[in-house]
């Protein structure tokens, strides 16, 4: 057996799901005995059979990837419960094993996958999906790039209709449930549980969950952002959200304003004051960044596009 054949066989075995009591399955995907499969390429020793030696790696694989998702999606886990969460993670990892060198990206396809497997989220599919999106946005915001901050006033002085770049770490999210409040509450319960009993913490989580789940779905617009390396969830008005989305898509200031207030009957001076207020607030948070050195022309809507 050459190197590649050994590696294919071993990876296939290592990534095969464990039994319910966390042992290696007795049969491979093709029905062959795992004892026979293991014995073909792994030596036994005086204490462990080939099967048992391979099983160590099989178990380590699953413990590692499940722990990683457990850490990244605590909110989802609280919504659907730990048992169903584990079943969901196993099903997800079987269909979407890691394709990245880093475990940080393990959940990158979870939202996409869940959209075609909503049965894992019932009866709170909407709430759970919103939570997954928020938790992934948080991961992106945590270690996204922060580029040199831009002062919008300086740009407006030289170009009446500029384009602005949002910091790469700024994540825009439209949800239907108050998952921002719920996630904060879940984290607080988790941290309180270090001092109190688990039962008290679980009771607290269930109370928060029921409260949020009972609310009628409504459009909530969130910016997940970073200040001094800490993550914050900021709710914004629908117009502000449309405006930021337009800027992120590369629209000029005038187009972004038009899209934000489309269908709204609003006086020009009120509109101006509103937009100015947004810029003041968001600039103080450092959300705007300078254009890339490769797209200097990008900032000017009237000029040539690079």
């Amino acid at each position: 057996m050459n190197l590649l054949e050994i590696q294919h066989r071993m990876l296939d075995a290592v990534m095969q799901p464990l039994t319910d009591d966390e042992q290696m399955r007795p049969h491979a995907r093709d029905g062959k005995s795992m004892h026979d499969v293991a014995a073909e390429f792994i030596k036994p020793n005086d204490r462990l059979s080939s099967f048992e030696r391979l099983e160590i790696y099989n178990r380590q694989y699953w413990f590692r990837v499940l722990a990683s998702l457990d850490e990244d999606f605590r909110g989802l886990r609280a919504i659907i419960g730990p048992r169903r969460f584990e079943a969901l993670c196993k099903a997800y990892l079987i269909e979407c094993p890691s394709e990245s060198f880093t475990l940080r990206n393990l959940g990158s396809r979870l939202e996409w996958w869940l959209r075609s497997h909503p049965e894992h989220l019932q009866p709170r599919a909407g709430l759970a999906l919103d939570m997954v999106r928020l938790e992934w946005a948080e991961i992106e915001a945590f270690d996204g790039a922060a580029e040199p901050v831009l002062v919008p006033g300086d740009v407006l002085a030289s170009d009446p209709d500029p384009r602005f770049r949002l910091q790469p770490y700024v994540q825009l999210l439209s949800v239907h449930y108050a998952v921002d409040d719920l996630l904060v509450a879940i984290r607080k319960d988790d941290s309180d549980s270090e001092m109190a009993s688990n039962a008290v913490s679980e009771r607290g989580k269930r109370t928060h969950l029921r409260k949020v789940a009972r609310q009628k779905p409504q459009a909530i617009f969130l910016v997940v952002h970073r200040v001094d390396d800490s993550i914050y969830f900021k709710r914004i008005e629908p117009e502000a959200f449309k405006f930021l989305k337009a800027l992120r898509e590369g629209k000029s200031l005038s187009v972004a304003v038009m899209q934000a207030f489309e269908g709204r009957d609003i006086q020009e001076n009120k509109l101006l004051t509103t937009v100015q207020g947004w810029f003041e607030n968001w600039s103080s948070l450092g959300w705007f960044c300078a254009p890339n050195s490769t797209d200097q022309d990008f900032i000017s809507a009237s000029g040539r596009q690079s």
Binding site: L11, K43, L48, F101, L103
Partner: protein, 281 residues
């Protein structure tokens, strides 16, 4: 060898791994530490707290990068995006040498996130050495490969692990990160004398040494990095530095991490063995 081509001709002492629970203590108290080892993958990101902390560490301390996902033994060629991110970090840290494991962990772009053992064959040695050369040529810094703990042996193996390690590093002309805890763990799991291993590696290629603790189970030992170093591992360390001379040494403690002082004091025990060696030589 205190300084050799494989550790960038540096002369580092005893360091510890930079871990999140110690960030606050290190930044506030600024303890005297010879050097820190970082897990490269934790900082191969675009921004945020990890890089912010790293920059503060770099202002004050020497840092060496240690990777867990290059998978020199995996069948696919090195991932260019991975290499580019790694090189960006190398430029940031100015690491004098870079280490990763002599193992594999992925096939056709699917990752196990584990350090899977190599079959000790000449084919595997040639393949692995070629990849090490490619990575070194791209990164333009010395590379040292670490022996891993293992729980399985292959029928296909044609030599001992230390012969395989020697074959690879000679073919790749690279260094060794000699993990004496991993040698101990594997020796217990595979019934060989760990001293044969320590005596069998080319000492002149050892760029760095790892020490760590592990967990004992009924039928095998698991490399968990969650305990102090046990005496038999210190004995292997003592023999290793007898052969290599005083060498950059690092204590790994990755789980159930105690206070900074406890970890650092455990690491500094290595200095006693260096002193003993100086007296006896």
């Amino acid at each position: 060898m205190p300084a050799n081509p494989f550790n960038g001709f540096t002369d580092f002492g005893v360091g510890i791994g930079l871990r999140v629970p110690h960030y606050r203590h290190i930044l506030a108290e600024k303890p005297v530490v010879s050097w820190f080892e970082i897990i490269s993958e934790n900082y191969m990101i675009d921004g945020g707290r990890p890089l912010h902390v790293l920059d503060q560490i770099l202002d004050r301390y020497r840092v060496v990068q240690h990777g867990v996902s290059m998978y020199f033994g995996s069948p696919e060629p090195p991932n260019r995006e991975h290499l580019k991110k790694l090189k960006t970090l190398v430029k940031r840290t100015q690491t004098p040498w870079l280490t990763d494991h002599l193992c594999w962990g992925s096939v056709d772009g699917t990752y196990s996130h584990d350090l899977l053992p190599m079959p000790y064959t000449f084919e595997a040695a040639r393949h692995t050495a070629q990849k090490i050369r490619e990575v070194r040529d791209f990164l333009e810094i010395p590379i040292a490969v670490e022996n891993v703990s293992s729980y399985a042996e292959f029928h296909a193996s044609e030599m001992t692990e230390w012969q395989f390690l020697t074959e690879v590093v000679e073919l790749a002309d690279c260094g060794i990160l000699l993990d004496v805890n991993n040698i101990y763990v594997s020796s217990r799991n595979h019934n060989f004398d760990p001293l044969d291993y320590v005596n069998g590696v080319p000492a002149e290629r050892v760029a760095q040494i790892h020490i760590a603790g592990h967990s004992k189970f009924e039928k095998y030992i698991l490399d968990t990095h969650d305990h102090p170093v046990i005496d038999p591992v210190w004995k292997l360390y003592s023999r290793a530095i007898e052969r290599t001379g005083r060498t950059a040494t690092l204590l790994e403690w990755d789980d159930k991490i105690p206070s900074f002082e406890e970890v650092h004091n455990e690491a500094l025990k290595a200095n006693q063995f260096v002193a003993d060696m100086a007296v006896t030589s």
